[in-house]
Amino acid sequence: MHSTFMLDQSFEPSEVQSVAMDVTQLARAHGRTVFRAAFRVLNDVGRAEDVQQALFLGLLEKPPSAERWSRIDQPAAYLTVIATRLAIDELRRNRRWRFFGIGEEAGIEDAALQPPQIRERAQQAEHLRRALVRLPRRQAQCFALRVFANSELDQIADQLSMTVNAVSVTLNRATHSLQRLLQTDPQGSQERS
């Protein structure tokens, strides 16, 4: 487990009062949802599990303030947003250490044994992940929260401490950048050293 650092960026400190929150109950109810959200972005079981554990351990260690928690009426959506955001950061962080070779990613490797249609879809997914890590961080976060976590603009704005207008502009930029990257460099070859 190496993801403790992520917690500081994702939860407000409970400086004054912590809400009485049963983290274990939350984990029972939404742990699988969180794992799936992280896996979608990372396509890596181990790293998705890291994100999942980091998120709930973070809640255990530093629960949101009572005021903030009282504003969260859909815990599953909230946790999905956090998980997606952590996963995007993890994806970006890993970029620098990882040599992207064809077939290295589990998805493509596994798909190599699959019918062509499934293989093609796995490659499409992996190319989008590679393109995502090449975006500026804010663009990657906004896009992932909007598309993978199905968040509304105001939710993204709240989560990322941005204005709704800024989220909208950032999303547009992200979309255009991704379209361009997928067309001009679909395999993310410029990412390789």
């Binding site: 487990m1 190496h2 993801s3 650092f5 992520m6 500081d8 960026q9 994702s10 939860f11 407000e12 400190p13 983290v23 274990t24 984990a27 029972r28 742990g31 699988r32 794992f35 799936r36 896996f39 979608r40 396509n43 079981v45 998705a48 599990e49 999942q52 554990q53 709930f56 351990l57 255990l60 260690e61 530093k62 955001r85 950061d89 970006r92 962080r93 620098r96 250490w97 998805g107 879809r121 796995a122 499409q124 997914a125 190319h127 989008l128 500026p136 961080r137 804010r138 976060q141 993978f148 990322l160 401490s161 991704l178 379209q179 361009r180 067309q183 679909p186 410029q190 390789r192 050293s193």
Partner: protein, 263 residues
């Protein structure tokens, strides 16, 4: 390629990701391990953290502090423990951070922390951010436009680093051993001993005085290739200055004269 085709390619990729399910059994195994972990953790008292460990965008550079605190595991020796103690026991800290790409400065930043854990970060020619964690407020000053914004401080805004300082997170992840460097260097006129850290192939060196006072952190980002396929070297240098007198005005949340306060 027209925009419809671009859209189609992107949408198709999105669908592929959304449809991609984890391997059979992976979700349940992860869930079981999560519940085990929570059960184990809940019986252990949560460790206390320094207030600046709470992080803010303005204090990203200052995150060096709690991160370095987490650096060494057992067996790193007394010398490094002394280095750590400076990060936890200072009264004020000034950290000068410079990032060079092929010897050209691309980021030039000064971060200050005072005794009350107030933080001020200045990026030369761009902006200044002042955070008062006790008041829960942050002042942003845009230097070129002389515009100021005062806002509620939120730990979430710590994530606006746009990746430029991702290496800080990597340091924090480090659980390995800090290797003492045999050679002695002169850093700012002082004899310095060094500790090497290697994180996923990225070399980091922390220099400190014989007494353990940290002087400098060097991060080598290695040779990468830019979009134009030209190799480049990125080096980040952080110089530490402890316990200097600091003017309280540096941490004032009142915009300086000439700045326009925006809503």
């Amino acid at each position: 390629m027209n925009s419809n085709s671009n859209n189609q390619t992107l949408n198709s990729a999105i669908e592929s990701i959304m449809d991609h399910e984890p391997p059979t059994g992976a979700v349940d195994k992860a869930q079981a391990r999560l519940l085990d972990r929570l059960a184990a953790e809940s019986t252990t008292a949560a460790p206390s953290r320094p207030i600046w460990g709470l992080a803010t965008a303005a204090a990203l550079a200052i995150l060096i502090l709690p991160m370095v605190l987490l650096l060494p595991g057992p067996g790193n020796g007394v010398a490094f423990a002394q280095v750590q103690s400076y990060f936890s026991g200072f009264s004020t800290l000034r950290a000068e951070l410079t990032t060079l790409m092929n010897d050209e400065v691309i980021v030039d930043m000064v971060a200050r922390v005072d005794e009350s854990d107030r933080a001020r970060v200045e990026v030369t020619g761009q902006f200044t951010i002042i955070v008062d964690p006790l008041l829960g407020q942050m002042l942003q000053l845009e230097q070129q436009g002389s515009r100021a914004r005062l806002m509620e401080w939120d730990a979430q805004s710590a994530d606006s680093g746009e990746g430029a300082l991702d290496w800080l997170e990597d340091i924090r992840e480090f659980q390995g051993e800090a290797q003492r460097i045999v050679a002695v260097e002169q850093i700012r006129g002082q004899e310095a001993i060094g500790f090497e850290l290697l994180i996923s192939g990225q070399a980091m060196t922390l220099w400190a005085t014989e007494e353990g006072r940290p002087l400098q952190l060097i991060i080598q980002s290695g040779t990468e290739r830019s979009a134009g396929d030209q190799p480049f070297q990125v080096v980040t240098q952080v110089d530490f200055h402890f316990d200097e007198p600091m003017d309280a005005d540096l941490f004032s949340l009142t915009p300086p004269t000439g700045y326009i306060l925006e809503d």
